[in-house]
């Protein structure tokens, strides 16, 4: 099925002020293949694709499209030549229909400038039919009513309606759950079958194994390795991080590390979760698995008082607590590290120190200097940062200049100032590169060993299984199964989906 070379980039060098983002990178794609582009955050993957699409212009190197030398000055030029890039952040208008989104900026017109809505409808329908019956929405559906996976299909449909021969997908599964991922994989298979070439940017080894025909690894702006097939996972990871990462997940807790139940919930429930009985023990990492919408996030939000329980009783260290606001939850000793760090965790324009101090300041008296609260002084905060090996040019730079992993460390340090008893990690490694992930896992284990009860929620099932001492499976708002350390992906997935099926058929 793999055919001719569609595009080839040779010796691409791109320099930003003070940094060489790409250094003589060569990359190509043939028709009918999926070429995985792999690398840590900041390695240069996205920059390379932006050079391809004309967002950036390279200082050195040439791009050939079907043998012709091209030089795109603007993304529109590459679009016209059949190169489409689907970014992580979709460029869709939620209040407009699927058809309007697909034809955005190039709406067909009839005489007198009237919109040719019929043509938009029929052409959209035509493109959607390429998905078979998997899309479950029509040209008239509002994009805002679609879930993330469906919105991604709209983005893909947009590319197809432009007759894109090259489709670049930038971490397309970042916001998808397992079922949605499977659907995406099928779509990618279809696109490959149609003879298109797919550049697939990802962190996840499972997806590379499932989809890729070839793998290129980029590290520090250079090609670290180019494989003509899909090599062992270890080889890819080694090329990415430049060394053997060794033990990826930390050792599980030993029996004597696990202590008393710190937090108990009896009969907890609200609109989205029901009959929650839960014990979180000191020294233990409890992982939560389940499909999207199963109630894992809702449980975290209930425990942290964002969307509180309506029923049931919660105790922390044996004392009943009322978790009706985040502030009350925090006062009770519960900390939550949100999954969407930028939206819910960080003041991007404030310094690393200010981001660390915010909780200590929120709980100390109103009067007094911000850098010296009864809970934590600035020196102590710096020590927390140091202890977690938080890397920044200085702790006075704006936190937006830090990598995702270092931002996560700052949020952990923020909570340590309140000495929390329960730490809830929501998607702890979303958008974080492989090398840093191991550091975050080690950090979570360390917090548990120091006596905290740790709760981990992640859509990445191998991650949940790897870090958790026990795994609770949720489905339809209830906890439906419990597994100890070492459960297999298959049995957990089975539990997560079976309960769902039973409910549907009964």
């Amino acid at each position: 099925m793999i055919g001719d070379v569609i595009f080839e980039m040779k010796g691409i060098t791109k320099v930003f002020p003070g940094i060489k983002a790409l250094d003589a990178v060569s990359f190509s794609a043939r028709s009918g293949e999926v070429h995985a582009l792999v690398g840590e955050n900041g390695a240069g993957k996205s920059t390379l694709m932006k050079v391809l699409s004309g967002v950036y212009q390279a200082e050195e190197g040439d791009i050939y499209l079907r043998g012709q030398k091209v030089r795109f000055q603007h993304p529109l030029e590459s679009l016209a030549q059949g190169v489409s890039v689907i970014y992580q952040e979709f460029s869709l208008l939620p209040d407009r229909t699927v058809a309007e989104n697909i034809f955005l900026g190039r709406e067909p017109a009839r005489r007198w400038g009237l919109l040719d809505t019929q043509r938009m409808q029929s052409e959209t329908q035509e493109v959607l039919s390429l998905f078979g019956d998997r899309h479950r929405f029509g040209p008239e559906t509002l994009v805002g009513e679609l879930d993330v996976a469906q919105q991604q299909m709209v983005e893909i449909a947009k590319a197809l309606s432009l007759n894109a021969q090259v489709i670049v997908m930038d971490e397309p599964t970042a916001a998808l759950n397992d079922t949605e991922c499977d659907l995406l994989f099928q779509l990618v298979d279809d696109l490959r079958g149609q003879g298109r070439s797919i550049v697939y940017i990802t962190h996840r080894m499972r997806e590379i194994r499932r989809l890729a025909d070839r793998v290129t690894v980029i590290k520090d702006g250079k090609v670290a390795a180019a494989f003509d097939d899909v090599p062992e996972t270890g080889q890819i990871v080694e090329a990415m991080v430049g060394r053997d990462i060794g033990q990826f997940y930390p050792e599980p807790a030993t029996p004597d590390e696990v202590g008393e139940a710190v937090l108990t919930v009896r009969g907890g429930g609200n609109d989205r979760i029901f009959d929650i009985d839960l014990d979180l023990r000191a020294g233990q990492i409890t992982g939560f698995a389940g499909v999207q919408g199963a109630g894992r996030t809702a449980l975290a939000l209930a425990l942290f008082g964002v969307e509180p329980f309506d029923t049931g009783a919660v105790t922390v260290e044996g004392n009943p607590v009322s978790l009706t606001t985040p502030r009350r939850a925090a006062r009770a000793g519960i900390a939550m590290l949100p999954g969407d760090r930028k939206a819910e965790g960080l003041m991007l324009m404030q310094t690393v120190r200010d981001n660390g101090m915010i909780s200590a300041r929120a709980f100390s008296t109103a009067l007094g200097a911000p850098d010296n609260t009864p809970m934590t002084t600035l020196d102590q905060m710096d020590q927390f940062f140091d202890a977690f090996d938080l890397r920044a040019a200085s702790y006075d730079v704006e936190i937006q200049s830090l990598s995702g992993g270092n931002q996560q460390k700052a949020i952990v340090a923020r909570w340590l100032s309140l000495a929390p008893k329960v730490l809830i990690f929501v998607e702890p490694t979303r958008g974080i590169d492989v090398n840093t992930k191991a550091g975050i896992y080690a950090q979570m284990r360390k917090l548990a060993q120091e006596g905290a009860a740790v709760m981990a929620i992640s859509s990445d099932l191998p991650e949940v299984l790897g870090i958790s001492d026990r795994v609770l499976v949720m489905s339809d708002g209830k906890i439906v199964a419990e597994f100890g350390y070492g459960a297999s992906e298959a049995e957990v997935m089975h539990a997560a989906t079976e309960a769902h099926l039973e409910l549907e058929t009964s």
Binding site: P326, M347, D354, S401
Partner: protein, 321 residues
């Protein structure tokens, strides 16, 4: 990796603007041969003419730092000026009660603004516009001309001098220093930047964000009432139109923005605002010296505001890239 330093750059921008304005001012004065405008006295007097705007804008900075805005300041200025001069009615012994009453009105208006915005989740633009209309309505129903009289002792606020420098100017600079210390060195001040930077994250860090928003609005309104007291002192009486005639609502927002405070909140400060006020006074003086037509003046001011904001927007875009 190299880290950009956007903070220093944005802090520098209003200063450069101010420098440019000063250079143009001096240039125009020399070019038109009106060197009498270049005396130290005259330069100090520049800021002296914008005391009311300065005080209001310091307060507006707090509202904008938490990503809110206050359109009710102009009418609140009128209310406090009229209220102060009516209560005083020329009687020096009523000065303290009048000031206390006016400041209390400021606290109440700020509380209502803050509560409506946080509890009913009304967009601040609408909430404070509504407050502005209510205040205007109350004023129009009660007064239609200069009301009351300010005793001579109170006129010291506007006309008094200490060591050759006017008391009002010292007050404005003192207020700026106090606001800076509050924002830079105290916990509530730091909370303002946090809430403005990302209200959701602040809430999830355990902060009582509604209190911070309300506090910022109270500070904003109290500053506006102080500006009203100053105007009453300067005009020797309060009139129900002085706030609106001074366009203190829009001008205070304009100088805050020119001073480098982000309309999206979380970034900026009062020194920039003070520079914004000086830039505005300088522009006015430049036009006066150059004899620019009043309408052309208005147009040029509009151009300068938009250009300044565009420069900041371009700068922040470059940082993101």
């Amino acid at each position: 990796m190299k880290v950009p330093k956007p903070k220093n750059m944005t802090a520098l921008a209003p200063f450069l603007l101010l420098l440019a304005a000063v250079v143009i001012y001096v240039g125009v004065a020399i070019a038109t041969g009106q060197t009498q405008y270049l005396t130290a006295e005259n330069l100090l007097g520049l800021l002296g003419r914008s005391i009311a705007l300065g005080i209001t804008a310091i307060g507006q900075t707090f509202a904008i730092l938490i990503a809110s805005i206050d359109l009710s300041v102009a009418n609140l200025i009128s209310v406090s000026a009229v209220l102060a001069s009516s209560i005083m009615s020329g009687d020096p012994s009523m000065m303290l009660p009048a000031v206390a009453a006016v400041l209390a009105v400021g606290v109440v208006v700020g509380l209502i603004n803050g509560l409506v915005i946080t509890q009913f989740e009304v967009n601040p633009l609408i909430a404070t516009l509504g407050m502005a209309l209510i205040l205007q309505g109350l004023l129009s129903a009660t007064f239609n001309n200069f009301a009351g009289e300010v005793p001579e002792a109170f006129q010291v606020f506007a006309y008094g001098q200490v060591g050759g420098i006017s008391i009002s100017l010292i007050f404005l600079i003192g207020l700026t220093i106090a606001a800076w210390v509050f924002l830079r060195f105290t916990k509530p001040g730091s909370n303002i930047y946090s809430v403005g930077g990302n209200p959701d994250a602040a809430k999830l860090a355990g902060m009582r964000t509604t209190r911070v928003v309300i506090m910022a609005h109270v500070i904003c309104s109290v500053c506006a009432t102080i500006a009203g007291l100053y105007l009453a002192s300067r005009l020797r009486s309060g009139a129900p139109w002085i706030g609106r005639d001074g366009v203190y609502d829009l001008e205070s927002i304009a100088v805050v923005v020119i001073g480098g405070t982000a309309l999206s909140g979380g970034r900026g400060g009062v020194w920039g605002t003070l520079m914004g006020v000086m830039i505005f006074s300088l522009i006015d003086s430049i036009f006066n010296i150059a004899g620019v037509d009043a309408f052309a003046k208005q147009i040029l001011r509009g151009v300068i505001i938009v250009a300044a904001v565009a420069v900041y927007a371009m700068r922040s875009r470059r940082i993101e890239a």
